[in-house]
Amino acid sequence: MTYALNEVEATAKKATRGAAYTWGLAEEAAKATRWLCAQGVDGCAVLAGLLRATDRATDMAPMSLDGDWASESGQLCALISGASLSDCAYRLPTGAIRMHNVVAPQLLLPFAAAAARHLGHPIAITWSGNTVIVSEAGLCTADIPAIDVADLVTVKTADASGQAVAQSTRAAPLATDWAYLNELAARTYAPATEESRLKGAGSGLSDND
């Protein structure tokens, strides 16, 4: 079954919030997952992979934005690091950003793309000897190396971008990933009571008029 990208975005936001990230980061995860799906990458698999590894984990943020980025616990969350990467786009023209032990590094790509749009300049992201280029137009590298944790990720401005991949208008997540994201999303829903049904939503008036 295929889903609208709007459905992906809404589900990703709720799932990330359900996994105890803040609303602001959940919004980032939602846009990032949508961007990946629009590039033809299975963004739901990437997000589900990250949330499986980080659900309710703590200390996965960079300790500092100065020097190489590394976390207290040893592993960096790609969502938190990605958000900081996008925030720090202004630093990229003057030097690379290096990150250690990044979980679900594919999730850095949409944030690098946001930085590329802001700078008007393509960006290269390298891990495990593979380099992925993103530009204002989107993802410019067809094959994204699949890996759960990247020892070292280097992000820097690139000289040239090449052609962006064709944009997809639908997402086709694996049923297991979609179910997992919805399971997390369900944590954001309050159980209904008869009182809340009447109080919370409308009037108790009949509609048979």
């Binding site: 202004y90 749009r117 939503a201 409308g202 048979n208």
Partner: protein, 564 residues
């Protein structure tokens, strides 16, 4: 290319416009989405057809209504059902309806219809595809429907008094677009000329639904009365709108889409500023305003409500109309910035209902100054979402103060200031509003209280050196990321935030609903509670086949009886 209008009178300030009580007093205008659509369809000479009408004697079956513009065709596929009365509910938790619909992108094949017949009648429990642009449903007004069928079947027209009291035969209870239930994302149609303006898909769906409802009631009367039955008289059909019953689900929309909301408001505010800046009106323009004002009075006379809040507001509006009539009788409305004088007088004299009525009405003679603004109402600013981490703590604070400074020092722990909490229910996945101190929902709270969140961010920023890039602050305070984003968006979109407390003990969600529905072009707002409102859409509008030969713009104002 549009000439740039010179405005000597500035736009009204966000702090004036964005108060909930004012947003809850907005009226439809030239920039309402329904009128934008009907103007376009008439201008472009759209053609309409009904290729399929297969409804049986029980009123069960399906029909297809197609609308063809210069570049493409859109088709409403309507499914009619035989709904037992005990299943009829306008609430979003309903599972069956009198009629269900989808707007198809193109002309559906029989295979498309077969596929959709297995899904659309189930609404949220079904799935549609990228070929469909919206999904919706409607219930009958039971009292009016039965009266219509009985009267027409017996060979006479329904009682116009009863028609006037309700105003519609069916009311939609949800119109889903933009990728909901598997339908195409907004991006599929966002760059088409005819759907660039927001909600044109949904408005087209309702426009065609109205024609279906008229045809269905005629069909049912014919089935019941046989040769004795008569068709509904065109003048009664014309007066019928489509009702809509809207609950809380719509309220968070304007908070969750600050750039889009800004663009709607700023288009209308720019229109108001342009018209207020007209130095001298022609006699023709002034006469048109006077005429529309009189027609508007008829419309307001027909607007009834049983809700105490709206009864009070309607009474105020009637008082305002008396004052407006006295003012316009004594003023030529031609010289010395007539519309600015009128508006400035209104601002000092009338309630917000009356002020906003004047603000909308004075746009009527100035289609050339106003209508082009419709193309600015969509959200094209995809970069607004990204946080600029280089912005200093000081600048973030300054942006925050612009829209939320009024709330920085409010006691946000006081019960009356945070009495409510927005949450999503497990049952139907729809937004609801709880009493924070009576129901255990705080941990499920949605981020729909920007003023409170701004005050907390303001407090947190105090501890940081003013020249710190906000990227560093956000690394340590991810809980403020949502609000830093909003503050930066507001710097680009200053009409995107409500300047009021959305979780106070006395917040009225119907104010948020009214604002959004006024932009749709709705009339006859009739709250059923503080969080639930019924409205009418397209009452007085030409039917598809008459669009080219009728007033496709000012149909919203009833014609004056006994006058040319």
């Amino acid at each position: 290319m549009e000439t740039v209008a010179q405005t000597t009178i500035p736009r009204r300030a966000p702090a004036t416009v964005m108060r909930l009580s004012r947003l809850g007093s907005l009226h439809q205008s030239r920039l309402s989405f329904m009128r934008i659509l009907t103007r376009r369809m008439a201008r472009e000479n759209w053609s309409f057809s009904r290729p399929v009408f297969e409804i049986d004697d029980k009123g069960v079956g399906h029909a297809v209504y197609s609308a063809t513009g210069p570049d493409r065709t859109y088709s409403l596929i309507a499914f009619a059902h035989d709904l037992p009365p005990d299943m009829r509910s306008d609430r979003v938790i309903a599972t069956a309806w009198d009629a269900t619909f989808t707007l198809f992108d193109g002309v559906p094949t029989q295979a498309d219809i077969d596929r959709l017949a297995k899904n659309v009648p189930y609404q949220e429990a079904g799935r549609v595809s990228e070929s469909e642009l919206s999904v919706s449903r409607a219930n009958r007004s039971v009292r009016l429907w039965e009266h219509f069928v009985d009267a027409l079947a017996a060979g006479h027209q329904p009682d116009v008094q009863k028609v006037a009291a309700v105003g519609y035969l069916m009311r939609t209870t949800a119109v889903y677009g933009s990728g909901k239930l598997g339908a195409a994302d907004r991006e599929k149609s966002a760059n088409r000329a005819e759907t660039l303006v927001p909600f044109q898909i949904e408005m087209l769906s309702v426009f065609l639904t109205r024609a279906f409802v008229r045809d269905l009631v005629n069909h049912m009367a014919k089935t019941k009365g046989g040769d004795a039955a008569v068709d509904l008289a065109p003048e009664i059909a014309l007066s019928l709108g489509i009702g809509n019953s809207t609950g809380l689900g719509m309220a968070p929309y304007i908070v969750n889409h600050p750039v889009l909301f800004n663009n709607w408001i700023v288009a209308r505010e720019e229109a108001i500023a342009r018209v207020r800046s007209v130095a001298t009106a022609t006699e023709k323009e002034t006469n048109l305003f006077r005429h529309v004002l009189r027609r508007s009075e008829t419309s307001i006379d027909r607007w009834t409500s049983e809700h105490p809040i709206q009864i009070g507001k309607l009474s105020d509006l009637q008082d305002d109309l008396v004052k407006i009539n006295a003012f316009v009788a004594a003023d030529d409305l031609i010289n010395d910035y007539p519309w600015n004088r009128l508006y400035t007088w209104a601002e000092k004299t009338l309630t917000e209902e009356g002020q906003e009525l004047i603000a909308s009405l004075m746009l009527e003679p100035y289609g050339d100054l106003v209508d082009g603004l419709a193309d600015c109402m969509a959200d094209f600013d995809t970069d607004a979402f990204r946080i600029d981490g280089a912005m200093t703590v000081k600048d973030v604070h300054a942006h925050l103060e612009q829209c939320f400074g009024w709330g920085f020092f409010k006691d946000w722990s006081a019960t009356e200031n945070c009495a409510r909490a927005w949450y999503v229910s497990e049952e139907k996945l729809e937004p609801r509003l709880a009493e924070r101190f009576e129901e255990p929902v705080a941990e499920f709270e949605q981020p729909l209280a920007p003023a409170r969140d701004a005050a907390h961010l303001h407090a947190a920023l105090q501890d940081w050196p003013s020249d710190t890039p906000v990227a560093e602050f956000l690394l340590k305070h991810p809980e403020h990321r949502h609000m830093v984003r909003r503050a930066q968006i507001n710097a680009r979109a200053p009409y995107g935030e409500i300047h009021d407390n959305t979780i106070s003990a006395d917040v009225l969600p119907i104010d948020m609903l009214r604002c959004k529905l006024a932009f749709f072009g709705a009339t006859r707002f009739d709250p059923r509670s503080d969080r639930w409102v019924r409205i009418s859409m397209y009452g007085g509008a030409p039917y598809p086949e008459d669009l080219a030969n009728s007033d496709a713009d000012r149909w919203v104002y009833p014609e004056l009886e006994g006058r040319s």
